[in-house]
Every structure is written in C-alpha cells, then in structure tokens.
C-alpha cells in the first residue's frame, strides 16, 4: 500500500508547490472570491420579494457561475500536466522510476483537486458569510451551499481529468491549451445552446420529452446544474433549461455527478497509457 501512496504523496506535494509558485492558488481563489462577492451583492436585493433566504438565492447564482468557472479553472490547471512534462523531457524520466502512470496522474490530480477545493471553498465561504451578515435566515441555505461545494469540486474533477486526457493526446502544451478551450466551449457553452435550439425546433415533440433529459444528464456540466437546481426547489426558476429539471429525478443527476469523475479519470489514465515518451 505504501508503495502506491508514497509516490502519489510526493508527486502531489510537488505539484501543489508548483501551483502555489505559479500563482494558480492565488488566481483561482481571487477569481472565485471576487465573483462570489459580486453575486452575493447582486443577489441580496430581491430576497424580500421572493420570500427565500438570502443564501438560497446566492446558491442559485453561484450554480450558474460555477458551471462556467469551475470547468474553466480545471482545464487551465490541467492542460499542461502531461504535454508540459513531455516537452521538458521529465515524463520519460519519471516513467523510468518505479512509479506507475496511474500514480503519476493521481499525484497531479490530488494537488489540483486541493487547489480547486480551496478556491471554491473560499468563494462559496465568502458568499455564505455575506449572506449570513445580511440575513440571519440564511442558515437555511447552508445545506444547499454545502451540496454546491462538493458537487462543484466533483465537476472540477471531471474537467481536470478531461484536461489530462487532452494533454496526453495533444502531446504539446500549445495544442493542449487550444483543445482545452475548445472542449470548454463545446461542453459548457455550445452544448446548451444546441439543446435549446433543438428544443425550440422540436416544439415539445419526442426530442424534448425523451432525448433531452438524457442529453442533459450525459453532460457533466448540465448534470451539475440539474442536481443543484433540482435539489433546491426555490431556485428552479433561475435556469434557462430549468423546465427540464422538473422532469428529471434528482438522483439521476446525482448519479451523473458522481459517475463522471470516475469515467473521466479512467479516460485520462487510458490516454496517458497510450503516450509513448
């Protein structure tokens, strides 16, 4: 057991140090904190009318923010992971050590997950503090915020692993960066637009009732949004595709949220195994 844990711990600690030095920790924490505070400030205005506590409203805003920001941060941190090491020549060196490819990936993954968790935790934590200061009732929203936190970290995990897989496939950091941005656009932005267009064209037909729920669940970002919105009924109205959320049971979204990181990690390991250093 220690033979597996030791290299993962060593690689993870080194990777975390690199993230600190490269200011990734600072940048991601600052980004999340800034956006969370802005959303808290913007979200505190309408609470009186809706009759929901301030934090639950903030959670709805943070869900819409996290679905874009968390995948982006994860991809930015991960696109260089394999390609950068190949370019520097350190990948082939590390592979001659008594360390498996899975352990190498796991070490990086642990460090990047820690950075993401710190950034997301700082941002959401600030939002919670802001909401609690403004509205003592906001305590009611804490479970929703906690759910948002861990599902955000899992969403980040999916995109970290997608980033590693792209990095291994691209073999060059420049190409990997391009692919990462492309995937972010396609999965997080264009996918929903495409579905919306299809729903409009379909006019409530078979596509909307049968295919759409599965297509939403198949996308980790949509599953994340569905899970957080479905679980928090007060915020269902906040999403454009919120209507669809009603037809999908929350546990389906939960399964997708839990399953995707596992699938993505397996994908990343498979991609790294195919790399000939």
């Amino acid at each position: 057991m220690t033979a597996l844990v030791r290299p993962v711990a060593a690689l993870g600690a080194t990777e975390f140090r690199i993230a600190l030095r490269n200011r990734w920790v600072t940048i991601t924490v600052a980004m999340m904190a800034l956006f969370a505070l802005v959303l808290s400030a913007a979200g505190s205005a309408p609470t009186g009318d809706v009759g929901v506590d301030a934090l639950s409203v903030t959670v709805a805003s943070l869900t819409s923010l996290g679905v874009y920001l968390v995948p982006l941060m994860a991809l930015l941190m991960s696109f260089d992971a394999v390609a950068g090491e190949m370019e520097r020549g350190t990948l082939s060196l590390t592979l001659t050590y008594p360390v498996s490819r899975g352990a190498i990936l796991l070490g990086k993954f642990a460090a990047h997950m820690a950075v993401l968790a710190i950034a997301v935790g700082a941002g959401y934590g600030l939002a919670a503090v802001a909401a609690l200061v403004a509205d003592p009732e906001a305590v009611e929203g804490l479970p929703a915020l906690w759910r948002l936190f861990w599902s955000s970290v899992l969403l980040g995990a999916v995109f970290l692993c997608i980033g590693y897989a792209l990095s291994a496939m691209a073999r060059r950091p420049g190409a990997a960066a391009g692919l990462a941005i492309g995937v972010w656009l396609a999965v997080v932005v264009l996918y929903d637009l495409g579905l919306l267009a299809a729903v409009v064209a379909d006019g409530g037909g078979v596509f909307t009732t049968r295919a759409l729920p599965w297509l939403l669940l198949a996308n980790p970002a949509d599953a994340f949004r569905l899970f957080n919105l479905a679980a928090s009924e007060a915020t269902a109205a906040a999403s454009g595709l919120g209507g669809a959320a009603q037809t999908i049971p929350a546990y389906h979204a939960l399964i997708s949220v839990l399953l995707w990181p596992v699938v993505a990690f397996a994908l990343a390991v498979a991609a790294l195994r195919r790399v000939t250093p």
Partner: protein, 297 residues
C-alpha cells in the same frame, strides 16, 4: 553476468526500421559509449532498454530481468537528452522528489547536489539555472540509490569543459564501484579517453563494437604527419617529401601505419629545412566516419 545484454534488437516504426538486429553487452564496471548521427537510433535504443517503448523483436536483459520490470527500474538510472525540469521548483525540491519516488530519504538531496557541484544553487529555482546546471540536476537524480546501470543520453551536452571533466570523474567512481554505464555522445574527443568500449550505430545498424585501439587497427586508416618547415623552405620540403603544402610553413603527409617509420626517416633527413613534425593518429572522428559510412557507398 552482464548488466545489460541486447541481442537482435529490432524496432520498426510505421514500416521504417529504426533499429536493425542490434546486439551488444555492457558488463558491470564497464563504460560504453554509444555513438551515431542524429536519427541513428541511439535514443530509441535507450528507451527500449529502459522499457519506455517495446522492441519489435529481439531479446533485452537489464540486470537479469526484462526491460521496465521492477528489478530493472529499481537498479537503472536514466538521464534523458536535454531534460529541463520544472522552472518553478528549486534544485533541492526536484531532487527531494526523485529521492522520494525511489523510496529513498529526501534528506540526501543536498549531498547529491553537492556532489555535482550545485550545492550553492540548491535553493534557487531551476528557472534561473543555466543549461549546464540543469544538466547537473539531471546527473544528480541519476546518482540516487547507487544504480547498477546508468543510461545517459548526451549527458555532457551543455556542460563546459571543466564540468565535463568533473562529470567523467563521477562516472569513473561509479564504474569503479561496479556500475555499468551506457552513454551516448556527440563529443567524440571526450569519450575517447573516458570510455572502455565504443559502439557505433548508423541508420539503426550496429557498425562497430570494440575498444578504440581495436577499432583503429581494424579501420587501418592513414596516419597524418604534419611537418613545419623553416621559413621559406616549405616548397622545397613539400617537393622532397612529395607532400601537399597547406600554408606558408606547413606540409601535410599521410601514410599507412607500417610506412610510418620510413616516412619519419625521410623527414629526419631534411632536418636543416624543418622545425618540427607532428604525428596525428586517426582520430575517433575519422574512425566514426569510417565505420558509420562503411555501407553507405
């Protein structure tokens, strides 16, 4: 038992033969230089030995085990060509990581860096290092855990002459302790004095595998005699010795090994006209060209 045994090792990439039935051995304590042009298959061969890529055919035995096996990995150190390490880490942090990956004590990092002359810069980031310093970090990691086999790809590229000498001194110590060393190089003159045997690869084929002395004998390349004439006498010396004049004072002669003494006698007979004579045996460069081009014509 040999530390490394290669037999009929063949690698074919997409129909292109990168290595063609290459076979040689490296014994414990032996220093073997692997020479060849860019693309001759040196790095490919090293990666096969390390188990990073599979061979298409042939047998490879590393420390009595298969390439890439636990035994082989535990006892083998590698220095890749132009390895760059992460610029955000310090030399000390980088070596501590490699020690931990080998299951060794990270506290040994400073001693390793001292050994390669990086003690002063150990706490500076690798991003601020020169190429030679980065190469020393690479060398330091290859010394971890007393490896029984060292595979070094162009280890002295980027090192200044003094560093090269220090580097070979470290290798000598390792070889004296019984480590087998396989290194590739472009700097032929330096491997000349510092290795026990030379393996020449050309277009994936093994062209030579012997000691330098034996290679010289086999190649039977001509010896050059360089005669410096007294001022104004160059033309006369060139005419008398039937040699080619190179510039105002120098006359170049070539002769086979067994003619050497006769030619020196001819030169000595002209002692009033000449200042000096230099005997230049075929260099490793000449041998290398001879063996690597043998089949090209």
């Amino acid at each position: 038992m040999n530390s490394l045994t290669l037999s009929q090792v063949t690698k074919i990439y997409d129909g292109v033969t990168a290595l063609d039935a290459v076979g040689f051995t490296v014994a414990p304590g032996e220093r073997v230089a692997l020479l060849g042009h860019n693309g001759a298959g040196k790095s490919t061969l090293m990666k096969i030995i390390l188990g990073l890529i599979p061979a298409t055919a042939g047998q490879i035995e590393v420390l009595g085990a298969g390439p890439g096996s636990q035994t082989a990995r535990d006892g083998t150190a590698y220095l890749p060509e132009n390895v760059a390490f992460h610029p955000a880490l310090t030399g000390l942090e980088q070596i501590r990581l490699y020690l931990r990956l080998r299951g060794d004590d990270p506290a040994k990092a400073m001693a390793l860096l001292d050994r390669v002359g990086l003690g002063q810069a150990a706490r500076r980031r690798i991003g601020t290092y020169s190429k030679g310093m980065r190469q020393r970090v690479g060398l330091a990691q290859s010394l971890i855990g007393n490896p029984r086999l060292l595979v070094l790809d162009e280890p002295t590229s980027g090192l200044d002459p003094v560093s090269r000498r220090e580097f070979y001194t470290i290798l000598d110590t390792l070889a004296a302790d019984g480590a087998a060393i396989l290194l590739s190089s472009h700097a032929l003159t330096e491997v000349e004095a510092r290795t026990d045997r030379i393996v020449i690869l050309s277009q994936g084929r093994l062209m030579a595998n012997d000691t330098l002395a034996a290679l010289r004998q086999r190649a039977a390349l001509p010896i050059r005699l360089q005669v410096s004439a007294r001022p104004g006498a160059a033309d006369q010396v060139a005419a008398q010795l039937a040699g080619g004049r190179r510039n105002g004072v120098m006359v170049d002669l070539t002769c086979a090994h067994d003619e050497k003494l006769n030619r020196l006698g001819d030169i000595a007979a002209l002692h009033g006209l000449i200042e000096d004579v230099e005997i230049i045996p075929p260099s490793l460069e000449d041998l290398y060209s001879h063996f690597s081009r043998r089949d090209e014509a």
